[in-house]
Symmetry: C2
Subunit: 326 residues, 2 copies
């Protein structure tokens, strides 16, 4: 089985590669792996198959065609520039997040016309396709009214994915990822970074800043579950999906206060004491517009699963990042 | 006031021109009119202002820029190829219905950057952004899961319109038009044509074919109301819209049986006798996936109005088409 991953150097991309190396995909061994990102993706240790890992600007002319030349069986399309950058650089956001995706989809369409090529395409979408005012929980049939260019680009790609799949050009599924928590690594400047920072940093004895009230409710899933979504999307029977190809994933709806209580249970009072409250009105206002939680009834019925408690999310982080660093 | 209309040779475009000639727009006289379509738009009789009416392929390079050069105050963007053609010619559908719209929006964005240009943009969207399964009535917050490429293209343009408006490049509003009934002219090959044919033809003593059961429920508005939506969208205070720029218009939800009863009341038994039932399973199946009706609560609250009965719709046709032909 030949697998292509765009955005393979990102957090999710690297973890998907790790999982494929460990488990294969749907009972198949991975015989060929094409990894692409703006920085050269790391080669997986000891991979015996054919590896093609390279850096490229996905929006450059001819790149989409090149990615499809090897006719990968499964494509994980994870590449995107993040929300803040897409908002600040309007043209780059549309070029990378929308035009590159359409180029990829069109390259597949042309290959389909040429030789019947018909890969599985797993697209990483986002809860950013939703925009306030939002109910809680958000039903599966709720409209997409994004309030960022990033969310707009993801919502447009979802529509393209559904239409190209309906025409039979490929077999696509869009995965609306919750906010990933606990995000490994170091604190970054993303406005949502604190959701992870207030857990990850205290777990290793470091301080973290909390800019919002404990009452803020948001929608989370672990990196481990996010990888699980990708693998399930790549292997499940898509006949059950019908024409509605984009799914809000299951996750855990929790307040910041509930996150902190879970930290207390797992790591004790000393960890909680490392959280410093520094209220930030701008970040708080942004958070209030974010998705508080989804029903995700369709995705659950289709076999997608996530954590039931923040204790599990924290333990997954300890197991995957602190006890068994990659 | 300078007004640009794309798709100006179409049924709606011509009627919008007529209304502007009669009433002006929002208390302003129309001093300049730019009309563009694939066939040269008819010049309105006796228009004393500056008229620029020409044929163009909107997707051709430089056309969008040319349309914006005169800095129209209000843009009615009505141009599109129809659903059947967009489905049959995938690339043409995306080129005309999506890329031309994005070109137009980008031309405005560049003009905005150059000199602060900030027009009102009224975009003709469609209930085709919705796809089965559909509840009745469809709430305003229902998701867009189109089942045609045409509907996909309209849904994408809605997302672009909202994002470009949010960035302040223009002041946009998207109008999801119900099926227009009674559509003037001659019977066409559109699968939905019978909704108009079974009224329009018997009203002038001609036979019409009904391919679906009387129980089929659909969502209608008169050409007169559709023009009213466009004018209201061009003149209302968009500050009330917030970031949700696309509105499902009010209309009349009626079964085919209810259409026929209205015809009986307005034109008598002899008219109804001209309807010949020729059941068509394919058309019936298509109809069953179409929108049965919308709440349209937001649009109504914002002052958009439509007919309350099919008798009114039929009378509007008699007044506007049969008694006062244009």
């Amino acid at each position: 089985m030949h697998i292509l991953i765009t955005g393979a150097s990102g957090m999710l991309g690297r973890k998907v590669v790790d999982r494929l190396m460990r488990d294969g995909l749907g009972g198949h061994e991975v015989s060929a792996l094409t990894l692409v990102d703006v920085v050269v993706p790391e080669a997986p240790a000891g991979f015996p198959g054919r590896l093609d890992a390279f850096s490229a600007d996905l929006s450059a002319s001819g790149i989409a065609q090149q990615l499809i030349d090897g006719r990968p069986d499964v494509i994980f399309h994870l590449a995107a520039i993040v929300s803040g950058e897409a908002e600040a650089d309007f043209e780059k956001g549309y070029r990378i997040n929308l035009d590159s995706t359409r180029d990829l989809f069109d390259a597949i369409r042309h290959a389909h016309a040429a030789d019947g090529y018909h890969p599985r395409v797993v697209f990483a979408s986002s809860i950013a396709v939703m925009g306030a005012p939002l109910p809680y929980p958000i039903p599966d049939a709720f409209h997409t009214t994004p309030l960022t260019s990033y969310g707009t680009q993801k919502a447009i790609c979802e529509l393209l994915l559904a239409d190209y799949s309906r025409h039979g050009f490929f077999d696509g599924i869009g995965i609306r990822l919750p906010t990933i928590c606990i995000r490994p690594g170091t604190p970054n400047k993303a406005a949502s970074g604190f959701f992870s920072n207030i857990l990850r940093e205290p777990l290793v004895g470091k301080p973290a800043i909390l800019p919002v009230p404990d009452s803020i409710r948001h929608w989370h899933t672990s990196p481990r579950s996010a990888v699980g979504f990708m693998v399930h999307a790549a292997t499940m029977d898509l006949g059950k999906l019908g024409p509605h190809r984009n799914l809000s994933m299951p996750g855990l709806s929790a307040t910041v206060g509930e996150q902190i209580e879970a930290l207390r249970r797992v790591a004790g009072e000393s960890a909680v004491a490392l959280i410093r409250r520094e209220p930030d009105a701008t970040i708080t206002r942004m958070c209030e517009g974010w998705a508080p939680g989804f029903e995700a009834a369709r995705a659950r019925a289709l076999g997608f699963t996530a954590e039931d408690s923040f204790d599990q999310i924290i333990r997954a982080h300890i197991e995957d990042e602190l006890e068994a660093p990659r």
